[in-house]
Symmetry: C2
Amino acid sequence: MGAMFSLEHAQALDAADPLRHFRQRFMCDEPELIYLDGNSLGRLPLASIKLARDLVEQQWGARLIRSWNEGWFDLPIRIGGKLATLLGAHADEVAIADSTSVNLFKLAVAALRRQRGRTRILTDDLNFPSDLYVLQGAIEMLGGEHRLEIAPSADGVHGPVEALQARLDDDVALIVLSHTVFKSGYVYDMAALTAAAHAAGALVLWDLSHSVGSVPVALNASGADLAIGCTYKYVNGGPGAPAFLFVRRDLQAALHNPISGWMGQHDPFAFGLEYVAEPGMRHFLTGTPPVLSLALIEPGVDLLAEAGMAALRAKSVQQTEYFVALWEALLAPVGYTLKSPRQAAQRGSHISLGHVEGWRINQALIHDLKVLPDFRAPDNIRLGMAPLYTSFVDLYQAAIRLRRAVDEGIYARYSRQRTAVT
Amino acid sequence: MGAMFSLEHAQALDAADPLRHFRQRFMCDEPELIYLDGNSLGRLPLASIKLARDLVEQQWGARLIRSWNEGWFDLPIRIGGKLATLLGAHADEVAIADSTSVNLFKLAVAALRRQRGRTRILTDDLNFPSDLYVLQGAIEMLGGEHRLEIAPSADGVHGPVEALQARLDDDVALIVLSHTVFKSGYVYDMAALTAAAHAAGALVLWDLSHSVGSVPVALNASGADLAIGCTYKYVNGGPGAPAFLFVRRDLQAALHNPISGWMGQHDPFAFGLEYVAEPGMRHFLTGTPPVLSLALIEPGVDLLAEAGMAALRAKSVQQTEYFVALWEALLAPVGYTLKSPRQAAQRGSHISLGHVEGWRINQALIHDLKVLPDFRAPDNIRLGMAPLYTSFVDLYQAAIRLRRAVDEGIYARYSRQRTAVT
């Protein structure tokens, strides 16, 4: 193989990487481990270790209830405002609350009620299944008058853009899509689809879970209406950290949070018996947030802001391009297929490879070969490039080990039986 | 004043307290502080310090995504099962998820859909306002066909039991009440009201936030249908820790979670596009839980189980009785009124005192007198007795300082302007 596919070449790429120093800001205490699952659970920022101790031992343990007035109450809006800068949104358009699924429920129900008279919801079969489940539940709860239409991707990789646009008419209430889709990593053109939807009078709700922190998102410049997303992937906010929601300024007063709780109440400590929505993003909050998990989002957001989305995207593109080249040279010959877009402009920050023995190869990677990818049924091995800490040597070694898993038949040691969380 | 109202007497009560050693299991590093707000945010168990470090540094930082299969995925059901033992419920009837408000929304909507044809929801004006907000939002979202009836308490202290029972008929779908009410601490007779509701074909949904961990709850023995509650008060689960929900076994298949997400999906890692509810409590889960805040509930639950609810209740009753006696002797003469039931059997584990200068006295307590109660508009000073760590000396000193706040005019230094979180 040529010089491009050598350890030395990978090391040279790392040496030239302007973001290489960010890796030292994360806990990486298992040097032989190649972690390519930052698109599922981001690594632990070192700053979060210190913050977690402070949160538990000082803010909770020592300051007790006083901490609510010493910063906790403002966390959802304050951290949301910081995150907005990574999303091309105004600070007063983003808040942190609940889970991605609960936020989707809130905004989808609010949008459907706003769009009364329109009965169709468009999505695609590349969307994260949980988003479809939430929409199915919302439709049932609203009386079954809406219909969810799932446009199929022609190749399982690229979004069915034309099919979605062809379905747009004045009966479409809402389009709900993953901006970067979870299997293939395909990225929708947010501005183009939003414009098409608006021309038909439809609203668009974007799930940014696989975009935020790795793919540039320009919510305001795209004219976006609504968005949700998680903070535990490329944002490195910690396991199950609360999610975010974005509502464009002029929609904030027009939409009503169906799960109206005290955190969205105007003057909640008056303890009035009637719900009166606080203007702005606060009214999309509901109950008391899980403070420890919430506050720990901030170090991850700060690291992304420090690196800058342009630099992060540049490295991400360079890394996915590099890995596609490695795939072509080393992995395609032993049965791996590329299940992500070839065009970098259409691709987020992970690469999916297919293989008929995908599940067993994945087990071999985890248990024998010290590579942590993840697996998405039926046969996708997902490899996430987190530009803050993934190195080119990581990617080179991962390709070598993926090759060995097949060449040396290591996968054959494993059962086809799956574990609870893949 | 007599011997009963002396420091020595309080010390003797502490010396005889069989639970006194539990205080050492909590962080208490400000010896002069009298913390009587465990009914709002419980203290930090020392075991949680160690667990928090392990969760962040080992489980997240070192084990990364692997931790999902090493315990995280099962946390909502496993900790819920432990909590069930404190609630007189079967382990498979309780799960941890979301916030109290979101859980109320889920179960109230599910119950209203189950009770189709019945249009009225009963509650009282002692209920936590956020619960009313959630019900108001749910009614609006379901098309405005239901009516929320708020039965007024005659004295602002005791629950309007007879008024609620008188309103029961075959149009009542659901009763939603706080088992222990947040201001006065009044405790409803769960079995009696449940029986009356069932006789009329209504379901009852109890908010146990101010009961769990301090007031014995016998969900199964009371024939209870549904319950929700928080874990950050007497359970000492940490700020905003996720809430719980209880669904009686035979109702689990009959009720449908309106916010259907991947955590409630049967075989979620098959990534099917249709929601198929997992049987049992799991289907009442929705999205990815905030793992750090969730896992930290467990040490608090373990401490309560170790102490035992009978012993906790015995101490709680002794402490509220003692404080009522202190009030009568020391505080009533300077304008404090008792806004909690006189009968211990009708009272939870906090005492509310009213005073025309309640807000300013509360400020004086916090800033000058090193007492942390909380304040509930318009004039309630709430004093929580957390039997795991509140001492009789705490209560004696608090009474002395409440008296001083008035006698010495200390409250007059403060403005009537309220802060964000009271």
